[in-house]
């Protein structure tokens, strides 16, 4: 890998919270023939970079559709990456003239906003859901474009968690360090940066082992904050800057930075529901009489909430607590058999969810008479 590619990757990683557009269009990876697989993705620079790395040595087409420079999952959830964009990409690339196959592989996580059937109707291409993670694409292709159950679950391994710690940690550390440096000198600023980065790293590392969601996250955040302050104190002592005022600034700045992250720590992970999600208190509901056993919901659920009951040829909700309200299952169900039910008994049906997208739920109720999500 060239130094330029490494620097580009670092820039895309550190700034990954901001949109960053890659060029759209059909690009070859290796030397794909007319019958090679066509993998669709969004034009988030970091994703395109990582896909090219994950697919190195293979011969496939990568069709980059316009997701406004946002990663596929967030963009699809926010209505910024939809079937319209995939249809547009297929046509702009004149795909039907350039490939013989009539199949598109879509990223599974786009299912929350990209409607499979609309693409098939408009383009004549059959849509197949790929795995949730780019790392599994190689195995998926080797298997003849088949996903196995474990590849549908979104993973959050230590490497990804440490990356997330860095992404959230560095702006928090920089900001709090700047304020602390202004109040107590550069040594205090440096010690605050150490404290914040240490506590944030510890928290993300501990995600699978500690209940870092709901009200229980607050004492745990306080605990990690105190740990960070301990390391910050050591740093302050090593720099020779320890005295009452600088230590007080260190403690307050580090705790404020940790508290800011705690507000929506869940939302920074792929496993938990955001504190701000309008559908956060909804639960997924299945109407068994409508379910035809197509099991598309099972194919797109990134948390293994649903399973096919082979005996009854119907889907069942097996793990509702794991649901992150991404609504992919509701959007893709051909029978509209799934919906959200809120604590007050109100329901939001599939048609509404398809129009409003997940994170607009409850805000855009103008076009939907009588169906208002909470917070409308």
């Amino acid at each position: 890998m060239s130094a330029l590619a490494v620097l580009g990757g670092l820039r895309d990683t550190l700034l990954r919270m901001l949109p960053h557009r890659a060029p759209t269009g059909l690009r070859p990876i290796g030397r794909p023939g007319a019958d090679a697989a066509v993998l669709v993705t969004g034009n988030y620079a970091l994703t395109v970079r990582r896909l090219q790395r994950a697919l190195a040595g293979r011969d496939v087409w990568l069709l980059v559709a316009d997701s406004r420079g946002i990663n596929v999952w967030c963009a699809a959830g926010g209505g910024h990456f939809t079937h319209h964009d995939v249809i547009a990409a297929v046509r702009a690339a004149r795909l039907s003239e350039r490939v013989e196959g009539r199949e598109l592989v879509l990223p599974q996580l786009s299912a929350t906003g990209v409607e499979r059937r609309r693409i098939e109707e408009a383009t004549g291409f059959r849509v197949r859901w790929g795995p949730a993670q780019a790392d599994d694409l190689g195995a998926f292709l080797d298997r003849g474009r088949r996903v196995v159950a474990r590849e549908r679950a979104v993973r959050f391994p230590l490497r990804a968690r440490l990356e997330m710690a860095l992404i959230w940690g560095w702006p928090a550390a920089l900001l709090s360090a700047a304020v602390a440096a202004g109040l107590g000198g550069w040594r205090t600023g440096a010690a605050v940066a150490v404290a914040v980065l240490a506590s944030v790293t510890g928290l993300y590392a501990a995600v699978p082992r500690l209940p870092l969601r709901g009200w229980r996250r607050w004492p745990l955040f306080a605990l990690f904050g105190v740990g960070g302050i301990g390391l910050g104190t050591l740093a302050l002592a090593a720099l020779g800057g320890i005295e009452g005022r600088s230590w007080a600034v260190l403690a307050v700045a580090a705790l404020v930075a940790d508290a800011a992250l705690a507000v929506d720590f869940e939302g920074t992970t792929p496993w938990f529901v955001s504190s701000f999600a309008a559908a956060g208190h909804a639960r997924i509901e299945l109407e068994p009489e409508r379910c035809s056993g197509a099991a598309e919901c099972v194919q797109v659920c990134p948390r293994g909430v649903l399973a096919m009951d082979g005996g009854r040829r119907q889907v069942t909700i097996t793990d509702p607590d794991a649901c992150i309200r991404c609504a992919a299952c509701i959007v893709q169900c051909p029978q509209d058999a799934l919906r959200f039910r809120f604590d007050d008994g109100s329901v939001v049906e599939a048609d509404t969810i398809r129009r409003t997208r997940l994170n607009l739920l409850g805000r855009r109720s103008v076009e939907v008479d009588g169906l208002r999500g909470p917070g409308a």
Partner: protein
């Protein structure tokens, strides 16, 4: 799911779009909408106008105010929602038909020769060049012979000193707009040439605002009689 805080910012983009574009155009975008409407409705009373990539509906509503029968299409449901919530400019005007449709899906919904004019403001700068070419070709077939194409968009000034001055002026505004709306615009390049390549005739480019914005007008081939009516 990755940061809902981030998504909260995204979700309100549409509501803040008008404010962002107003800021970026320094309050002049409304005059462009009215100019496009004037050109789109110049040939006939009750012209059928398509606002391509209508966003929050500026051009479509200006056309409706001039008595046109307007269809506004945009792939962004949230933007359409903002457009729908705006009042029809004139009680006598026909309501605009707002459709959630990408410019690339025009052919799925409208048969050939469905419109007397196709207008578009700040939509082409949001498209890749291959997309622009495809959309222009389809737009030509959806226009009647001699029908009007009107595109307003941001361009880069041609003389080098102006280009530098423009970049210096644009940066702070673009940054502010980005911070408010998480969107930005990119100037279109070689639009008149692309419009000619797509088979349009009588392509005329009008530059505004220190050479940094353009209105390109053109006609679908055929209908020579109508072409004489150009203002």
């Amino acid at each position: 799911m990755a940061s809902f805080v981030w998504m909260r910012l995204l979700e309100s983009t549409a509501e803040r779009y008008d404010r962002g574009i107003e800021l970026l155009s320094r309050g002049r975008i409304g005059s462009v909408h009215r100019r496009l409407a004037e050109l789109a409705t110049a040939d006939a009373v009750g012209a059928r106008v398509l606002d391509l990539g209508c966003g929050t509906g500026g051009v479509a509503l200006a056309c409706a105010a001039r008595g046109a029968r307007v269809v506004g299409i945009d792939a962004n449901a949230a933007m359409l929602e903002v457009a729908r919530a705006k009042p029809t400019p004139d009680a006598a005007a026909a309501p605009v038909a707002w459709l959630e449709l990408d410019a690339m899906e025009l052919e799925d919904r409208f048969p050939p020769a469905s419109f007397d004019a196709v207008a578009s403001c700040l939509a082409f700068s949001d498209m890749a060049e291959d997309t622009q070419a495809y959309v222009l070709e389809v737009a030509r077939t959806r226009l009647v012979a001699g029908g009007r194409l009107l595109i307003a968009d941001e361009v880069v000034p041609e003389p080098a000193p102006r280009r530098v001055l423009h970049a210096l002026r644009r940066w702070p505004l673009a940054l502010l707009t980005y911070l408010l709306t998480q969107t930005t615009t990119r100037p279109v390049r070689a639009l008149p040439a692309r419009i000619r390549e797509a088979g349009f005739v009588e392509v005329v480019e009008e530059r505004l605002w220190g050479d940094a914005f353009c209105i390109v007008r053109a006609r679908a081939p055929g209908g020579e009689g109508r072409a004489g009516a150009a203002p």
